[in-house]
């Protein structure tokens, strides 16, 4: 059942992105930024946590989960350290994704030649 939810939620998010891309002049860069901001906003009132429980991996794959995880880390650190936690926490949960993207791209950029 969770597979169906994952399919529906991830597909729904991508379809909205595609509709925005086709019907406005925004570039893919604008749309990914927009979705990150939406994800960060949805986490403020713990809505995104409920979506993750409902859709599982389907909610964690789209870029919205990136914003959700940044807000999540900030709020968790804010509970512990107070207002400075907002600066300590943002990359607690997302650092794996960012570091992996940077390290893997760097290594592959050294190995592979660019193609046209």
């Amino acid at each position: 059942m969770i597979y169906l939810n994952a399919f529906l939620f991830a597909g729904f998010v991508c379809m909205i992105g595609q509709l925005i891309l086709d019907n406005t002049k925004l570039t893919p860069g604008h749309i990914t930024c927009l979705f990150v901001v939406i994800g960060a906003f949805l986490d403020v009132f713990n809505i995104y946590d409920k979506i993750v429980l409902w859709a599982g991996g389907g909610a964690l794959v789209p870029i919205t989960s990136f914003g959700h995880l940044i807000t999540h880390g900030s709020l968790a650190a804010a509970d512990q350290y107070g207002i400075m936690g907002l600066l300590i926490g943002p990359f607690d949960l997302t650092s794996a994704g960012i570091s992996a993207a940077i390290i893997i791209s760097f290594i592959f950029a050294l190995i592979f030649k660019p193609r046209d």
Binding site: Y3, A6, F7, F9, A10, G11, F12, V13, C14, M15, G17, Q18, L19, L21, D22, P28, G29, I31, T32, C33, F35, V36, V37, G39, A40, F41, V44, G56, G57, G58, A59, L60, V61, P62, I63, F66, G67, I70, T71, S74, L75, A78, I83, L86, P90, T94, A96, G97, I98, A100, A101, I102, I104, S105, F106, F108, A109, F112, P114, R115
Partner: protein, 146 residues
């Protein structure tokens, strides 16, 4: 008058994109990515007996690895131009942007090329994520205090 004519000709010649078709393809491919994500989480947590939270990290790293590899091998661009937002909105789009920028600027050197330009496209995602998360968490903290 000339301009209108020109516009009509351009409209006639430029290929029309079927918006419904694009949306359905994005829905199917994006949903497939969601299923793959859920499958990988369950696979890692059953196979290695690790908690779901760490399995999630493994899943994200796996997806990033494969999209970087396919971009380097050269056929991920074709997949993206077919699926469009179906592959741009998932985390694969982030990795694809990073990898293609790194490959594109390789010829300008390690530091001024790869180092300076790798996050050219995907840096926007990180910056907007951090700034918006800071603002929203601050609002929530202030609401909680008052």
């Amino acid at each position: 008058m000339e301009k209108n004519k020109y516009k009509q000709i351009v409209d006639k010649v430029s290929p029309k994109e079927d918006k419904l078709y694009n949306a359905i393809i994005a829905f199917l491919i994006g949903g497939l990515m969601g299923i793959i994500g859920q499958f990988l989480i369950e696979f890692y947590s059953y196979k290695f007996g690790i908690p779901t939270k760490e399995a999630t990290v493994c899943m994200i790293v796996t997806l990033i690895f494969f999209s970087c590899l396919f971009t380097s091998l050269g056929f991920f661009d074709k997949l993206v131009s077919f699926a469009k937002c179906g592959l741009i909105i998932p985390i694969t789009g982030f990795a694809h942007a990073t990898q293609s920028a790194a490959l594109e600027y390789k010829k300008e050197g390690l530091v001024t090329g790869i180092g300076a330009n790798m996050l050219k496209l995907s840096g926007a995602v990180v910056i907007f994520g951090v700034v918006s998360a800071y603002v929203f968490s601050l609002i929530r903290m202030l609401l909680g205090v008052i």
